[in-house]
């Protein structure tokens, strides 16, 4: 391994991979067999954090940034005049193993520009994973990109060596995709996803019968959408997301606020701020769908196509549905407790446990960790402080905003700053 050459390649190919936000190393349960190297930690470990506050748990690189496609939103697009580089399979293996041995990383995240053809590219990615598993006896985490258009046979093999596979659909609507990536088809993204989904189901069934069936993509599949590049509203983004959760059993959908990277007139210009607050609201909505038992139609619909930026989506839903409240925390079921603004799922479980012993009052709720600033208007408990005063939704919203300080306040204020 020549240090100088690898150093140059790493700088180019790590930089190009950073727009992929997935860095999860959890959910796999690979154990170290016969004194090999590594085992996947079920909860995942973040070994460090970048200055933008994102976790670093995998070595996240492209195999190459040569690409035959010309997607407007992508740094690696064919027409972009940038330095190109390509790793050899062995170089990626050596880097991964040496970083892992020093406890820098949990494993490898390998993506790639598409050179020659989808199959040719996918084959190289699989070759890296295969080498790590079979020659180096490596049991750490491996996340591979499914290359749109790759053959079923290669996808099947990929799942045998990787913990997680992902295809980034990037643009939430067909129309947007046509505009920004004219040479890509939605179907090409979906085909490998279907293949992997079916294989996961099949391997799971076989494992029930035959204990020795190998693991197949134990970390499941994920995808990513860019937010704020092609003018979709929140409803379109979340309906797409919901469609993928429901139809492809995805583990995660990631939302990535668009970071301007080109002067293409089809896109937000360089210098446009990254829509981080919007990204945050989308993640909150995603959580409501996956853990809080909400249906997407309750949060986003024809009358309500955008998430509020000034309040979180659960509070937004509650203010539109005042007839559901107040909820009695000492009687309500889990489903309804989870819908009270200011209550996280952890608090819900603590309430369910604690109320077996005693009727809960405000002090108990506070000790449990409920955010009373939001919750107080939506619940009743075993004390009559904060008597509900028949407030209107607008009034409640005003009170809550008055008493809270968001880190995004500066972004939200639409007043001109006189001296700034």
């Amino acid at each position: 391994m020549s240090f100088q050459r690898v150093q140059e390649k790493l700088n180019i190919l790590a930089d190009a991979a950073k727009y992929d936000v997935s860095c999860s190393s959890s959910g796999s349960n690979r154990t170290n067999t016969n004194k090999g190297l590594g085992n996947a930690s079920a909860s995942g470990i973040c070994h460090t954090y970048t200055e933008d506050g994102r976790c670093v748990s995998l070595l996240k690189i492209l195999l190459t940034n040569y690409c035959i496609f010309d997607c407007a939103y992508c740094v690696t697009r064919k027409s972009n005049d940038i330095k190109r580089a390509a790793f050899k399979v062995q170089e990626v293996v050596d880097l991964t193993i040496n970083f892992y041995r020093r406890n820098y990383i949990e494993g490898l995240f390998l993506s790639s520009g598409i050179f020659k053809s989808a199959d040719y590219t996918m084959e190289r990615l699989v070759a890296v994973a295969k080498k790590l598993r079979l020659e180096e006896n490596f049991n750490g985490y491996i996340h591979l990109k499914s290359i749109p258009g790759a053959s079923d046979e290669l996808m099947r093999e990929a799942g045998l060596y990787a913990d997680r596979l992902s295809v980034n659909i990037e643009i939430p609507t067909k129309k947007g995709l046509k505009l920004l990536a004219p040479d890509k088809n939605r179907e090409d993204f979906i085909k490998p996803m279907i293949k992997v989904k079916n294989e996961i189901i099949q391997y799971k069934n076989e494992k029930k019968l035959i204990k020795s069936t190998p693991k197949y993509a134990p970390g499941g599949q994920s995808t990513q959408m860019i937010v704020g590049a092609s003018g979709e509203n929140d409803m379109q983004i979340m309906y797409t997301s919901n469609y993928f959760y429901k139809n492809f059993n995805l583990k995660r959908v990631y939302y990535s606020g668009y970071v301007p990277i080109s002067y293409d007139t089809r896109l937000p210009q360089i210098g446009t701020p990254v829509p981080m607050l919007r990204e945050n609201r989308l993640y909150q909505t995603d959580w409501l769908l996956r853990f809080y038992g909400f249906n997407i139609e309750e949060i986003l619909n024809e009358q309500h196509q955008h998430l509020d930026l000034d309040i979180d989506p659960k509070l937004g839903w509650a203010l539109r549905n005042m007839h559901e409240f107040p909820v009695d925390v000492n009687k309500a079921d889990k489903h309804m407790l989870a819908r009270i603004p200011g209550l996280g799922m952890k608090s819900v479980y603590k309430i369910l446990k604690a109320r077996r012993y005693r009727q809960l009052n405000w002090e108990h709720l506070k000790a449990i960790g409920v955010s009373l600033n939001r919750a107080q208007y939506f619940l009743v408990c075993a004390s009559n402080k904060f008597e509900s005063r028949d407030l209107t939704a607008e009034k409640i919203k005003g009170l809550i905003l008055q008493n809270s300080k968001s880190k995004y306040t500066d972004m939200l204020s639409n007043q001109l700053n006189l001296f700034g």
Binding site: Q7, L37, T50, K60, F99
Partner: protein
């Protein structure tokens, strides 16, 4: 009349002291380590000699009274090394043995609650060490790391590293407590090192470490810079995740 029991700072030693206190039916007890012992003006004191069997009996007795997870908290809390932890644990143990039912999670009891809080702190430090240990390859092929954790978490991270790095020799050394874990491809031993006065844990001297070591550190630091998105910079969040007191272990954070 208060009795002070002096023990050798090991967990078994502490449990032996607990056994002794119950055996002698002592009313008011203070359990302290040799280092922290100061002769009291009034009251008596006595040195306890660690006895594996007595320690096991106390542990087995506690095990009958609560769940494994609740029991684990007592050990985690002990490793916090907080000056008052022996009293907290002793009072909690008295409470547990006196209770008719399982009170291992009765957080209305101040001692049990304190143990839960300490467990949380120690657990967080354990997880951080699993993340922030950075091995450097020495000339004689050992992956070496030094740490200075807030709490004594080496016993807790042993299993994680043993399982993960089964095919390389490694050594994790706690500079604060002056002992380390050494894995020789077969088993893990507790060792102490004579580190020279000129040993600087933040440096990678070419006398001790392999020639490739600085190259990989350089590659890692390059990677750390490349993977950052400048337009999303958020230092407040960054420091929340990687508190400054840990930076000295992390080559990517050396300024």
């Amino acid at each position: 009349m208060e009795t002070t029991l002096i023990y050798d700072a090991t967990f078994d030693g502490f449990l032996t002291a607990v056994f002794t206190a119950f055996e002698l039916k002592l009313k008011t007890v203070k359990i302290v380590t040799e280092q922290r012992f100061q002769q009291p003006l009034f009251g008596s004191f006595d040195t306890v000699y660690t006895d594996q069997e007595k320690s096991n009996r106390v542990w087995a007795g506690l095990k009958k009274k609560m769940s494994t997870d609740e029991l684990r908290r007592f050990y985690y809390a002990f490793l916090s090394e907080k000056p008052t932890v022996e009293d907290t644990l002793f009072n909690a143990i008295v409470y547990v043995f006196a209770a008719k039912k399982n009170v291992g999670s009765d957080f209305t009891n101040a001692h049990i609650l304190e143990i839960a809080k300490l467990t949380k702190n120690v657990g967080r430090e354990k997880h951080r060490m699993e993340a922030f240990v950075r091995f450097k390859l020495t000339k004689d092929g050992i992956y070496f790391a030094n740490i200075e954790p807030d709490f004594n978490v080496l016993p807790l991270i042993k299993r994680h590293f043993e399982k993960r790095y089964a095919d390389q020799k490694w050594l994790i050394y706690d500079l604060k407590r002056k002992y380390g874990l050494y894995y020789n491809l077969d088993k893990v031993d507790i060792i102490t090192l004579e580190l020279g006065a000129d040993f600087d844990p933040t440096k990678t001297s070419s006398e001790i470490f392999a020639a490739v070591e600085l190259e990989f550190q350089q590659l890692w630091n390059d990677y750390f810079k490349s993977t950052n998105i400048a337009s999303r910079k958020n230092m407040k969040l960054h420091i929340q995740h990687v508190p400054k007191r840990y930076w000295k272990y992390l080559s990517e954070k050396h300024i």
